[in-house]
Amino acid sequence: MDFGLSEEQRKLRQEVSDFLEEELRQGLWQPSCDAWIMAYDPEFTKRVAQTGWIGLTWPKEYGGQGRSFIDRLILTEEMLRYGAPAACHWFADRQIGGAIVRYGTEEQRGELLPIILKGEAYVGLGMSEPEAGSDLASLKTRAIEDGDDYIIDGQKVWTSGGSRMNWIYLVARTDPDAPKHRGISEFFFQTGLPGVDVRPIVDITGGVHFNEVFFDSVRVPKKYLIGEKNRGFYQILHQLDYERSGMERLMANYPLFEALIQYAKETKRNGKPLAEEPVIRSKLAQLKIELEIGRLHMYRVAVVMDEGRAPNWESSMSKVYGTAFEQRLASMAMEIAGLHGQLSPESKWAPMSGMAYHSYLSSKGYSLQAGTSEVLKNILALRKLGLPTG
């Protein structure tokens, strides 16, 4: 047993931190909550790509660094700590590259991985449909073979990253006669094709992160089917373990945590900083306690991945825990901000750069993305604890 990080890992953390500090010093961007999913900055992504921090865990033969998942966790933890605008490459780096390494052909790896490594693949995740949310396997979007292509018809919704994407990872039905879990395949292709129509959905914060995407007889070359035909659902389950596993499920709104502490130190009530009020102290300390427990859950997931196992129940647990924490953080920040909390970020009176306001609203979605907390608790109950199905 060893809870410590290696010298090399501490060095990596320092390097990432130095890099981001320098970026901040140059005023290249402002830290923000949800930056990993909302803040698209192609230039930032290019700079990250140049350091070799995309594809960190992929094998060296495919252009990766062959480093551990703990290393990647350290990298992403620092990105989130600084609220860095990493949305352009986040999905591709987190799960798409890994899926192509695992399920792709040599030809696909050769064509697609370099695009991701260069930070040029802004990926949308085409999974949910109007009638297929938690029950993803009931999806209806069809992919029908036609010569060298598949012709895709249907609709996706809540497509994360859709409005900025140039590539999409799509799950579609390739065999309508098979049982619903066994007729699904995965595709990865550029979205500039004729027949792809993206319609942004404005979210509760007023921002655009997810979208509707319509496919009207879109011709996708067969070479972009990833992995085994009709086995896509099983591949995606594996991929979801990774999608759920990251530090963004705990630290998506971390800049708010620091802003809240600063706010409590600077804001006076009855001539005394809030941070000296016992009730406020205990609330802030409780958030810190909960954050650190969450970090342990997250590091455990990475340890499991480094052992070569898919972090199935472990990532379900860490995501349920982490997203609930993020919501408590946002709620607590709003509670402490009191009347000021209701001010939208544009107001000159808005405290904490409006992060509490934003995060209070945006964090409602955290426990829904990539598996609702309810679905994840089902996984814990059925797969980890062996409770019977209904």
């Binding site: 047993m1 060893d2 809870f3 410590g4 990080l5 703990i70 502490i261 409590a264 130190k265 941070a275 000296e276 102290r281 205990s282 802030l284 300390a285 409780q286 810190k288 306690i289 909960e290 650190e292 427990i293 342990l296 859950h297 590091y299 455990r300 990475a302 340890v303 480094d306 647990m317 349920v320 825990y321 309810e374 994840l376 608790k377 089902n378 814990l380 109950a381 059925l382 980890k384 604890l385 062996g386 409770l387 019977p388 199905t389 209904g390």
Partner: protein, 377 residues
């Protein structure tokens, strides 16, 4: 990072689980709880024979020279078994402070007795204020030639009814307050002037009120430095908090296990109640808490074992364990229904012990303040 036990540690875990399961069915726990002594001298000897009492002490004192992390594993199993008796008092509260702060003579005198299972130790720290800070120490120790005279009352002293020795924390500098002027003494528990009353507690665990009336303690029985004992007390409390966390891991893991088993067996509406999603989600919440307590407890134990700084990690572990234990036990009861609130059901042992462990060596509000200071608030 590596979160797995070594092969040796796995063996210790399996061996201790088997032994404790065999020796401490709940009927035995009940009998011991109801006895005057609160422990089984026969099994105590067996535990000493297995090397458990001397586990963490150097070989030259008759110990097995294993690590604090190894001890953590044993404590988890003891928590799982609801082990009654003075193991924690003797090893964590008595032996380890002597190993840490004792003179060579003191180590030579006391540690072999502990490792051999011949002497029971405990710690007389808290008083009526029942708080773990320097101001809480009012008990006086007045110098008198080659001795100190102790007067005062200690509260919540575990196993004082069977202890051979007590580490007693007292104020040696009359004019001092707070953390200064405090000294730790190794006191023969049979000294004239010491009397105890066993308190009836939620865990039936022989916490005592101990009255010191003109108790004479030789000067050479000072543990560590005169007037500077609080630094050691802080370490003792920290170490004990980690130890309690490990017991709590075992406690709530077992509560979860018996609850999941029950949810699989118990049928209502013609199906196991564990097939209902509400029950499933309760169980998911429980295991998430159990795992969080486990990770933080072992992180703290590992840091302590490696002699690394761990103030914040210990505070987080104990605060979280205290909170999580209450949630886990509440859900365990909810899932068990009425049978779980009967005195003959195993669950109540865990409920009572979880509460006792929560308030011992610092609860969540105590450690929230520690964390707040560590955060620079």
């Amino acid at each position: 990072m590596d979160l797995a036990f070594s092969e040796e540690q796995e063996m210790l875990k399996t061996m201790s689980r088997d032994f404790l399961t065999d020796k401490f069915p709940k009927t035995a726990v009940k009998e011991i709880e109801e006895s005057d002594s609160g422990y089984s001298p026969e099994i105590w000897k067996e535990m000493a024979g297995l090397g458990w009492v001397g586990l963490v002490f150097p070989e030259k004192y008759g110990g097995a020279e294993m690590t604090f992390l190894d001890l953590a594993i044993l404590l988890e199993e003891m928590g799982r078994a609801c082990l009654p008796g003075p193991y924690f008092s003797t090893v964590v509260l008595g032996g380890l402070p002597i190993l840490d702060a004792g003179s060579d003579e003191q180590k030579q005198e006391y540690l072999p007795k502990i490792a051999g299972g011949e002497a029971i130790f405990t710690l007389a720290l808290t008083e009526s204020s029942a708080w773990y800070d320097g101001n809480a120490i009012e008990m006086k120790a007045a110098a008198d030639n080659d001795a100190y005279i102790l007067n005062g009352t200690k509260l919540f002293v575990p196993d004082a009814n069977v202890a051979d020795y007590m580490l007693v924390v007292a104020r040696t500098d009359e004019k001092s307050s707070g953390e200064g002027g405090i000294t730790i003494f190794v006191v023969d528990a049979k000294s004239p002037g010491i009397s105890y009353t066993v308190l009836k507690t939620i865990a039936s665990d022989k916490l005592c009120e101990v009255v010191f009336d003109q108790v004479r303690v030789p000067k050479e029985n000072i543990l560590g430095e005169l007037d500077k004992g609080w630094d050691e007390v802080r370490k003792i409390v920290q170490r004990a908090a980690v130890g309690k966390c490990c017991e709590m891991v075992g406690c709530i893991q077992q509560a979860l296990d018996i609850t999941v088993d029950y949810a699989k067996e118990r049928k209502q509406f013609d199906r196991p109640i564990g097939s209902f999603q509400v029950i499933q989600h309760y169980c998911a919440d429980m295991i998430t808490d159990v795992e969080g307590v486990r990770l933080s407890a072992y992180q703290a134990a590992w840091l302590m074992s490696e002699s690394l700084p761990c103030t914040q990690e210990v505070a987080i572990a104990k605060a979280w364990a205290g909170q999580a234990c209450q949630r886990v036990m509440a859900l365990a009861h909810q899932i068990h229904g009425a049978i779980g609130v009967t005195i003959d059901h195993d669950l109540q042992y865990y409920t009572r012990r979880a509460k006792a462990a929560e308030v011992t060596f610092g609860d969540a509000s105590f450690y929230q303040e520690v964390v707040a200071r560590e955060m620079g608030l």
